[in-house]
């Protein structure tokens, strides 16, 4: 008697373990679902909505949708990919993304996803937000222009580094990344180059200084193969944190 339960993803059977979400099971089984804010080492967040799939006549973000036996999930359809393309376009229009002059070009998940989904234009009027960079730190540059608000650095800093260097403030279209210092400058935080938060940025916000072009364009991660191929190799990874922030929750228990 087999204990393995399965659901259907685009007609193929996907096995899953209890507690897994649809994207976790799919990636583990070698099936790619496009995603941005989901990271295999962190608890699913569900904010970018790029991983949205169709279940029956409803839609849901596959990173937070619990896998259930018998689900019939539709992902690789024109309808879902059209939606994803629009969401990626929205992110391009929202921030200031100038790929040709960006040192993250070729290593950027947003750019790679754009190529993979066939995004040809931003599709929307650019918002051109005014977002000054923070170059205060001797070894790190923060270029907020490229922030897609995935909160990976927030989560990594809180859950893995135990520092809560990053947080979000503002609301709606004014939502923005802040750092944990009264001056609002990165140099006044306890961030370290070895922090998980520094390594996890999928786009070009958190950058190490003086190494931007050590790896030449053309020889970068997504120059070799598209993000859809690499995400699968990345997928089976142990969680980096337990989805909790020791610093914040200790305070709550009081």
């Amino acid at each position: 008697m087999s204990d393995t339960q399965t659901f259907l993803l685009d007609g193929e059977e996907i096995p899953f373990a209890p507690g897994q979400t649809v994207i976790q099971a799919a990636l583990a089984a070698g099936h790619y679902i496009p995603h941005l804010c989901y990271h295999p080492e962190f608890k699913p967040h569900g904010s970018c909505k790029v991983c949205t799939v169709k279940v029956g006549n409803r839609t849901a973000a596959s990173c937070t949708l619990p896998a259930q036996a018998g689900l019939e999930v539709e992902s690789a359809s024109d309808e879902m990919n059209d939606l994803r393309r629009t969401l990626v376009q929205m992110l391009f229009a929202e921030g200031n993304h100038f790929c040709p002059s960006c040192e993250k070009s070729g290593n950027c998940a947003l750019q790679a996803l754009g190529y993979d989904l066939g995004v040809m234009t931003a599709g929307f009027r650019h918002l051109f937000p005014d977002r000054p960079v923070d170059a205060s730190h001797p070894d790190l540059l923060l270029d907020f222009n490229r922030c897609i608000l995935c909160e990976l650095c927030v989560r990594a800093s809180c859950e893995v580094d135990g520092k809560c260097v990053f947080a979000l403030s503002g609301r709606g279209i004014d939502k923005h990344l802040i750092v944990n210092a009264p001056s609002g400058r990165l140099e006044d935080t306890d961030v370290a180059l070895t922090d998980k938060a520094v390594q996890v940025c999928p786009v070009g916000v958190i950058l190490k200084k003086r190494v931007g072009f050590a790896q030449p364009i053309g020889a970068r991660r997504y120059d070799a193969s598209p993000i859809s191929a690499q995400a699968l190799a990345d997928a089976p990874r142990a969680p980096a944190g337990d989805g909790r922030c020791a610093a914040c929750e200790e305070a709550e228990e009081k």
């Binding site: 699913p44 569900g46 904010s47 970018c48 909505k49 790029v50 949205t52 839609t59 973000a61 937070t64 619990p66 939606l83 629009t86 969401l87 929205m90 992110l91 229009a93 929202e94 929307f124 009027r125 918002l127 897609i148 608000l149 809180c158 809560c164 260097v165 990053f166 947080a167 979000l168 403030s169 503002g170 609301r171 709606g172 279209i173 004014d174 939502k175 802040i178 750092v179 944990n180 210092a181 009264p182 609002g184 610093a247 914040c248 200790e250 305070a251 709550e252 009081k254």
Partner: protein
């Protein structure tokens, strides 16, 4: 630094008042703003220290709520309600008038740090608008005379507590009563009836057990009997979604956890809705009684009432009602003489965030966080406040629950329609002779409400606010009921003189302002919708833009995180479907028009040079 020490003392006293609990962060920040006029950067760092939270998290919460200011202090924060009904009563001209009197630019603190004047989302005074908030205190019926008075008080720097009381006098305007608004219950009646509903053996078991809660499990007839009545009544949630209340209570009762909670959602933010304000001002006992009945049925030990910041004036009277009920043994320990039935209610004040009306965002806010809707499942009935089982219901739902506890499910069931039992309290505003509160049995046609409120030449009615539906004259025979026109209570009337495009545009601005920004489609999509509506309003729209609106609607329905995003395009699409000519007459007869507005791009240069004459504008084609 003596100033720093002084600030620390002020903050420490406030934090102390809230028992140093991080869950009270929003309440702490409200108090700090009251004392300091804003949340200054030094206060954020100190509060983090005092509460044991990262300062960035304190800043994130302060930055989320509209009523909390982190930019500059002002002694007076004056906010004009900007619902469409306020617009129809001339709020824009009134705001300009006050800005002129006080010599300030809208949205900017005056040079001397005295005053800031701006718009805010609907404040729930649509039947006596335009509404106004001064440091959070509501003023109805704004007009020139009142603004003259207010301007003088501001210039004299009179404390708001000393302003003439008649400025703040708010009417209930109850126009039609039915079983709820016409109820004859005394405080405690429903609760005693609920307890008595248990068989005698249950009461005996409870008396013999160490506590009522223990008996609750061993011999649960009492609470189960109440649950049974609620189910038999067919009561559905009055917040708009219409979930079956009995099932919600039962799921929460059956969930395991160290503590269960009852939360009353009084974050009545839907533009055009104000019935909860009236229920909380005139029927507070009934609301608290319903919450206590719920606590009895599900075995909860703590309750919260989440009161929207705009209803700050109700806080003191509500606290008085709570104190009275405690003194009468209807709250606190051994309620109604039942050993171990311990339950109390705490009031939590919001600070200007419509999204907190969504139950999981409301719970986040209760926990002292940014009001972001959670991922679901799990649902609040199993993982709510502090991840514990929590029942969240609307103000009116608790009132109905109290009535049912007193009079029984069968009595309630026969009122209304088969699928919508009971009555609905409507907040009627807009173009009608008698705006105010109307209670009707479910199944009442829109036409009757219009006749009763004295509406003539009605062009359209927005049912249940911007996130509801807009109906035209040929649909006025439709009925207020979950199976036809479900509603959280808003009923905004527009006569033939109104421009329905501008109505939809006002709502598009509302959603963009209130999007929490968590998910991509809502954060960006509501902004794009607003920009498209503004483009059409400016005479630059094309058929392409109308297609774009339909695309945005599709994206938001498919992928937004919560109801706010799902419904954000509804008012635009509803009016586009029913009143298309009002859109089309604005369009340029072109297939495509670039979104880039060259004249608009010169606005900054005009501001810098202080010019706004015709010569500073590009000549635009005369629109026929």
């Amino acid at each position: 630094m003596p100033e720093q020490t002084e600030l620390r003392e002020v903050l420490a006293a406030i934090v102390q008042r809230h028992a140093g609990a991080p869950t009270r962060l929003l309440q702490v920040l409200r108090d700090v703003q009251d004392v300091r006029g804003w949340i200054e950067p030094e206060a954020i760092a100190l509060l983090g220290d005092l509460l044991g939270l990262p300062a960035a998290r304190v800043e994130g919460v302060a930055g989320f709520y509209s009523f909390l200011r982190t930019d500059r202090p002002a002694r007076y924060h004056i906010l004009f309600s900007d619902n469409i009904t306020d617009r129809m009563r001339g709020n824009t001209a009134l705001l300009d008038y006050l800005c002129g009197k006080l010599l300030v630019e809208r949205g900017h603190v005056s040079e001397d740090g005295l005053v800031r004047v701006d718009f805010t989302s609907c404040t729930g005074l649509c039947d006596q608008g335009p509404g106004l908030l001064v440091n959070g205190w509501a003023i109805p019926n704004t007009n020139i005379e009142r603004l003259d008075c207010i301007a003088q008080l501001v210039l004299d720097q009179a404390p708001v507590t000393e302003w003439p009381a008649d400025l703040f006098s708010i009417q209930d305007n109850i126009r039609r009563r039915d079983i709820l608004l016409g109820h004859d219950l005394q405080p405690g009646d429903a609760l005693r009836a609920a307890v008595a509903r248990g068989s005698e053996s249950a009461a005996e078991a409870a008396a013999n057990a160490r506590s009522w809660r223990e008996a609750n499990i061993a011999a649960p007839q009492g609470p189960l009997a109440v649950l049974d009545e609620i189910k038999r009544a067919g009561l559905r949630g009055r917040g708009g979604a219409g979930f079956t209340t009995g099932l919600k209570w039962e799921a929460c009762r059956n969930a395991s956890g160290p503590m269960r909670y009852v939360v009353c959602n009084a974050d009545e933010g839907e533009p055009g809705t104000f019935k909860d304000r009236v229920l909380l001002s005139g029927y507070a006992d009934l609301v608290f009684e319903g919450m206590t009945v719920c606590a009895y049925a599900i075995g909860a030990g703590q309750g919260f009432l989440y009161l929207r910041g705009e209803y700050r004036h109700l806080l003191a009277p509500l606290e008085e009602t709570l104190a009275r009920r405690r003194a009468a043994g209807l709250l606190g320990k051994d309620i109604a003489g039942l050993k171990g039935f311990d339950f109390d209610i705490q009031i939590h004040l919001g600070a200007g965030a419509y999204v907190c009306g969504e139950e999981s965002a409301l719970i986040e806010s209760l926990e002292g966080k940014r009001g972001i809707p959670r991922n679901r499942p799990p649902y609040p009935v199993t993982h709510g406040y502090l991840q514990r089982p929590t029942t969240v219901n609307n103000v009116e739902t608790f009132c109905a629950a109290a009535l049912i506890a007193a009079k029984g499910g069968d009595w309630y069931r026969v009122i209304g329609t088969a699928k919508s039992a009971g009555t609905k309290v409507l907040s009627v505003s807009g173009d009608c002779a008698r705006p105010g509160i109307y209670e009707y049995p479910f199944g009442t046609p829109v036409r009757q409400v219009l006749a009763d409120c004295g509406a003539v030449n009605t062009q359209a009615v927005q049912i249940s606010g911007p996130s509801g539906v807009c109906i035209a004259a040929d649909e006025f025979d439709r009925r207020i009921a979950f199976e036809d026109l479900p509603t959280a209570g808003a009923f905004m009337v527009f006569d033939q003189s109104r421009d329905m495009f501008q109505v939809a545009r006002n709502f598009a601005h509302f959603f963009a302002h209130e999007s929490c920004g968590f998910c991509t489609p809502c954060r960006v999509g509501t902004t794009m919708l607003k920009a498209t509506m503004d483009k059409i309003a400016a005479g630059h729209g094309t058929p392409y833009d109308l297609a774009e609106i339909e695309k945005l609607d599709r994206v938001l329905h498919q992928s937004a995180h919560c109801g706010l995003g799902h419904t954000a395009c509804n008012p635009t699409l509803d009016t586009l479907r029913r009143f298309r000519p009002t859109y089309e007459k604005r369009l340029k007869s072109l297939d495509f028009e670039p979104a880039f507005d060259l004249d608009g791009a010169l606005a900054r240069a005009r501001r810098m040079t202080g010019r706004d004459d015709a010569g500073a504008h590009l000549s635009t084609e005369a629109t026929e």
